[in-house]
């Protein structure tokens, strides 16, 4: 289901792949039962390809990776969080089309 350039983040790889990443990282918190998340999926995949090399983009399944979702207080999905140097710099809740993500990503590049 996930695009070739879209990463899969987990509780165990989050520290290494997101927080310690040298590039900005956009994390899409999602779940299989969330309709808007599923519809947003291909758009996130598209962005992962468009921003390849500039921003790392990946998904985190909140059902399977509960600890990370809880740590960042995710209470509504889809939620995307942009991380830079291990810190949250921006967050968006809901799926409102591609420009929503692009506006978020502008803060990274």
């Amino acid at each position: 289901m996930t695009g070739v350039n879209t990463q899969t983040f987990t509780d165990s790889n989050f520290d290494a792949q997101v927080l310690k990443s040298s590039k900005p990282v956009m994390v899409d918190f999602w779940a299989t039962w969330c309709g808007p998340c599923v519809m947003a999926g291909p758009v996130v995949d598209e962005l992962a390809t468009e921003y390849l090399g500039k921003v790392t983009i990946g998904k985190l399944d909140v059902d399977a990776q509960k600890a990370t979702a809880a740590k960042y207080g995710v209470m509504s999905i889809p939620t995307v969080i942009l991380f830079k140097d291990g810190k949250e710099v921006a967050r968006k809740v809901g799926f409102a089309g591609k420009p929503m993500y692009e506006n978020l990503l502008k803060q990274a590049v």
Binding site: P36, M39, G73, M75, A96, G97, P99, E102
Partner: protein, 319 residues
């Protein structure tokens, strides 16, 4: 500037059904998905009254199927929201989007549907912090928590019901002294008093906390504060036509788009285009027009009517 014969604004049942017809008529429509792609059904669970699915179908699945069907016949999806429409039938229309792009279209089909109503009691700053209008999406985050649902219709009861599977307690805040919901849904509450509590004749006045922590309720002229961890709204919908207020497309006093369907003359139906708006070349269907029936299947039907009218109008224009 990207060009199309037909621009379809909105991606709910009306937009996708219109796109299936328009695409099969080889109009290669562009569908502007909008700020809530898939529309209201994305926030539901089981849809039991859409013809053709005797076992029921999950709302988001129905919408992704409609999307697939629209794309299969040659529609193209644009994941942007239209913010402005200018132009006319003679010179063509220009649609501007929140992505900063412009698109040119010979005809436009408006099917933006309706969005969840808000109360304006400060809920805006609590999105994703304990406030939601999609219980079905977010119920699982409220495991063993205390939650409140505002509203007294079918959607409110459906939301409350979805929350009972996770939350420690679910309380509905209802303005009147009875539900507006259908009998079958009311029975669900009446049969489960241990699961869903109801506060009648109560209004939400305010929200307190860094995230949702306390609610200020108005009961019989008095204010009462309750502790909570989650707040859900299901208080109806308002047509998503704000961006048309300064356009030539005529709206009624509540913001619904006027077409020949809602203000028809026999002539419109025999010779004209019943789904055409006050602007020739712009058609409309679904919940942004229909203040009465508001069902997925009626929206789909109205979308198709508008697509057929647009197709006929485009053909007449070329002749």
């Amino acid at each position: 500037m990207k060009q199309t014969k037909l621009a379809i604004v909105g991606s709910g049942p009306a937009g996708y059904a219109a796109a299936v017809y328009a695409a099969r008529a080889e109009l290669a429509p562009l569908i502007f998905a909008g700020s809530e792609p898939g529309g209201q059904l994305m926030k539901t669970t089981e849809v039991e009254n859409y013809p053709g699915f005797p076992q029921g179908i999950v709302g988001p699945q129905l919408m992704t199927s409609m999307q697939e069907q629209a794309v299969k016949f040659g529609s193209e999806l644009v994941w942007e929201t239209v913010t402005k429409i200018t132009g006319d039938a003679k010179n063509g229309f220009v649609l501007s989007t929140d992505g900063g792009n412009e698109y040119q279209a010979e005809a436009v089909l408006l099917s933006m549907g309706a969005s969840s109503k808000l109360l304006g009691v400060g809920e805006d700053k609590y999105w994703g912090k304990g406030f939601s209008t999609c219980a079905v999406c977010d119920a699982a985050f409220y495991k063993d928590k205390i939650v409140y649902v505002v509203g007294g219709g079918d959607a409110a009861i459906e939301d409350a019901w979805a929350l009972t599977k996770f939350a420690k307690s679910v309380t509905m805040i209802v303005r009147g002294s009875e539900f507006r919901a259908s009998k079958i849904m009311q029975k669900r509450v009446a049969d489960n008093p241990d699961k869903i509590m109801v506060l009648w004749q109560t209004q939400l006045k305010g929200i307190r906390g860094e995230k949702v922590e306390e609610l200020v309720l108005g009961v019989a002229g008095e204010e009462k504060v309750v502790k909570t961890e989650g707040l859900f709204f299901a208080i109806g919908h308002t047509p998503a036509t704000d961006f048309l207020k300064d356009s030539a497309v005529a709206l009624d006093e509540k913001g619904y788009i006027k077409t020949g369907i809602t203000s028809s003359t026999p002539d419109t139906w025999i010779h004209g285009y019943p789904t055409m708006t006050s602007v020739p070349g712009i058609f409309a269907g679904g919940d942004c027009v229909d203040f009465r029936y508001r069902q997925a299947v009626t929206a789909a039907g109205m979308g198709v009517s508008a697509a057929l009218d647009a197709e006929k109008w485009l053909a007449a224009k070329t002749d």
